[in-house]
Structures are given as structure tokens and as C-alpha cells.
Amino acid sequence: MYPHERSLVNEMKGRPFALIGVNSDDNLEEIKGIVKKEKINWRSFQNEPKGATSSISKAWAVRGWPTLVVLDREMKIVYRGHDGDEAIDKAKELVKEIEASK
């Protein structure tokens, strides 16, 4: 998934799109190493940062990983699932719609 997402982010540079991760790894240092190694070029929330009272995945009722959610510009959910290609297609389609309406 990393290379796919990396090229998506590159393709979407300067366009009305943001890829945001919610990372659920326990070891923060290790995952920072992965970010470097895999050239991960998008921002991620820590799912359960130290001192947090609840995790993001709980609030979003995520029970399987990876889960992908696509939100429109009003933050309404337009896709939720596990299919990367489907999510990317949906996001691209919506970005094009915004660009066409300008």
C-alpha cells in the first residue's frame, strides 16, 4: 500500500486532497523509522498517544486494519471499507468534481 499512497500524494500535490493516517503501532520510534525508510509522505495521527483517554479507532468503530475512509469537503463519509483501489478511485473522482466546479 505504501508505494500506491506515496504516488497518490505526489499526484495530488496542490490539489484539494489530503491523505491522513491513523497509526496504530505500539512503538513510536520504530514507526518513525518505517516512515523514513518507506518515504511515507503523509501525516498520521497517533491512534493512542500517551495520556489519551480513548483511541481514535474506538471513536470511529474501526475493527479491522487497514480501514480506509473517504470524506467529502463537508467531512461527510462517502466511502468506508478495506479496498484501497476503490477508496483511491472515489477520492480522485471527488477531487476532479471540485476542480471542475471551479
Binding site: 491523505l19 514507526i31 495521527f45 479507532s57 474506538k58 470511529w60
Partner: protein, 275 residues
């Protein structure tokens, strides 16, 4: 019922072993503790060896494919990925857990050995032995407070002994356990599959939801109530067409930010982990 997804057996198993290793009761004999840890370590070593063997197979294929490409020949067929652990490995460790359960037969200490026996055995063809272990759990140990973790194993056994048998055992727990949270878990485990997968508008989903809410009501542990709410929210609230909840958090560098900082753009949210 809980089912194995098509996933590399090793990952799944390691997760089960890790999961089964936590949250045990407090007053258990040091002897059982030690034995459990040893069996777990032995199993881990064997599983790692099996995984390495798998990996070596793939690497050998990769090398052969590379060589074939360099020589302009067609690549060799990819080796089949193993979806289940080697049978002899499982048989061996099943034997260990069975023996340990027998050693502590009739006491609470036997429960976690039975649990592991059922979890591992569910991936084999040992239908009779696994059924018998489920029966022991739900008769001899029916009143035990230690049954909480073990009932998940009964759900897992459904893939070997069948949904009907597995449900029978879970119902025995539901009616016979003196512990509210164990009764609630038994109900919830039965309802989970339909609750997670049946179409939200179907009668099946409605029935499963009713059961799950009943479990939440019986439960004393907040975790069980939350679990029910989380599954239902995932199916009904945080779904297509609804406005997403905002996220206020920190990024991997500890810098605070909000999801709504990106409002106005199309956002793709990826719940990920590097495992």
C-alpha cells in the same frame, strides 16, 4: 462465529498466542504459570522455524525467477503459500497442551491449557478431541470465573466442530455461568458475526443487534458494553452518508492537529499499522 480470514497462518497464530497469554486470573499456581510459559515459548520457536522455512521457499523461488529472467526463460511457478501450520507441528503441540490440561484436570489451572488446545486444534482435523475439550470447559469448568477468555476459543472451534455444536456450548455458558460478564460474552460472541456482516436493514442484523444489546445490559464490565456500542456504531453511525466525527490528536512527531484542519478538501483517512 469467529472465522479465520485467509491470512498467513503464522501471523494469525502469533496473535492468538499473544492474546491468550494475557489477562489470566490472579491466584494460579506458579507451577502452571511456568508450564504455560514454557509451552508458549516452545511453540513460538517451532512456529518461527516453520515461518523461516516458508520464507526460504519464497526466497529460493525469487532467486530462480530472477535467474530465469536473466537467461530469457519463463519464470518457475510460484510456490503455494501455506495457509495452515504444518500438521506434525500442530499435533506435537496439541499433545503438550492436552497433557498439561490433564495434569491440572478439574482445577482452574486446566482452563488456559484447554483454551490453547482448542485454539490450536481448531486448525487441525481433530474434531473429536476438540469437541471433548469444549465439553470439559462448559461442564467441569462451567462455574469458573476463569472461563472468560476461554469462550472465545469455543467460538473459534466452530470452524472445526461446526456452528451448531459451537453454539450449543456457548448457550450452556450463557445459561450456566454464575458470572454476568461471562454470560454476556457468550451471548455477544454468538451475535458478533451477523452483527458485523449482515446487511443493516436485514432481519438477521436486527436479531443479532437485539442479542448484542441484551449482552450489553447483562454485562457488568464497561469493556463489553463499549464493544457492543463500537460494533453497532461502526455499522450504523460512522458510515457512508453520515458526517464524520472530528479527530483531535497528535501526529507522529507529537505535533497537535485536527482532522477538521483539512475540511474543504477531499480527505482519505487510512487506519494503518506496520504489522
Amino acid at each position: 462465529m469467529l472465522r479465520f480470514k485467509e491470512t498467513a497462518f503464522a501471523l494469525a497464530l502469533v496473535a492468538f498466542v499473544a492474546g491468550a497469554g494475557v489477562a489470566q486470573g490472579q491466584d494460579r499456581s506458579a507451577e502452571a504459570d511456568k508450564l504455560y510459559e514454557r509451552l508458549e515459548a516452545d511453540f513460538r520457536v517451532d512456529m518461527e522455524k516453520a515461518m523461516e522455512a516458508e520464507q526460504a521457499k519464497v526466497e529460493a523461488w525469487q532467486a530462480a525467477a530472477k535467474k530465469a529472467k536473466a537467461e530469457g526463460k519463463p519464470p518457475p511457478p510460484m510456490p503455494a503459500m501455506r495457509m495452515a501450520p504444518p500438521e506434525d507441528l500442530m499435533t506435537k503441540h496439541l499433545g503438550f497442551y492436552e497433557k498439561a490440561a490433564a495434569q491440572f484436570a478439574g482445577t482452574d489451572e486446566a482452563i488456559r491449557f484447554l483454551q490453547m488446545f482448542i485454539m490450536l486444534g481448531s486448525m487441525t482435523k481433530e474434531k473429536e478431541r476438540i469437541g471433548a475439550a469444549c465439553k470439559t470447559l462448559t461442564t467441569t469448568h462451567l462455574k469458573s470465573a476463569q472461563l472468560a477468555d476461554a469462550i472465545q476459543a469455543i467460538s473459534m472451534a466452530s470452524m472445526l466442530i461446526g456452528d451448531e455444536e459451537s453454539e450449543k456450548f456457548l448457550r450452556a455458558v450463557e445459561t450456566g455461568s454464575p458470572h454476568a460478564d461471562i454470560r454476556a460474552s457468550a451471548i455477544l460472541i454468538r451475535a458478533t458475526d451477523k452483527l458485523e456482516n449482515a446487511p443493516v436493514k436485514s432481519a438477521e442484523y436486527a436479531a443479532a443487534k437485539k442479542e448484542a444489546l441484551r449482552a450489553a445490559e447483562i454485562a457488568e464490565a464497561p469493556a463489553i458494553k463499549q464493544e457492543v456500542q463500537s460494533i453497532i456504531d461502526g455499522r450504523e453511525k460512522v458510515v457512508g452518508g453520515k458526517v464524520a466525527p472530528d479527530i483531535v490528536g497528535v501526529d507522529l512527531d507529537g505535533v497537535a492537529f485536527k482532522l477538521s484542519d483539512y475540511k474543504g478538501k477531499i480527505i482519505m483517512l487510512d487506519f494503518w499499522g506496520n504489522w
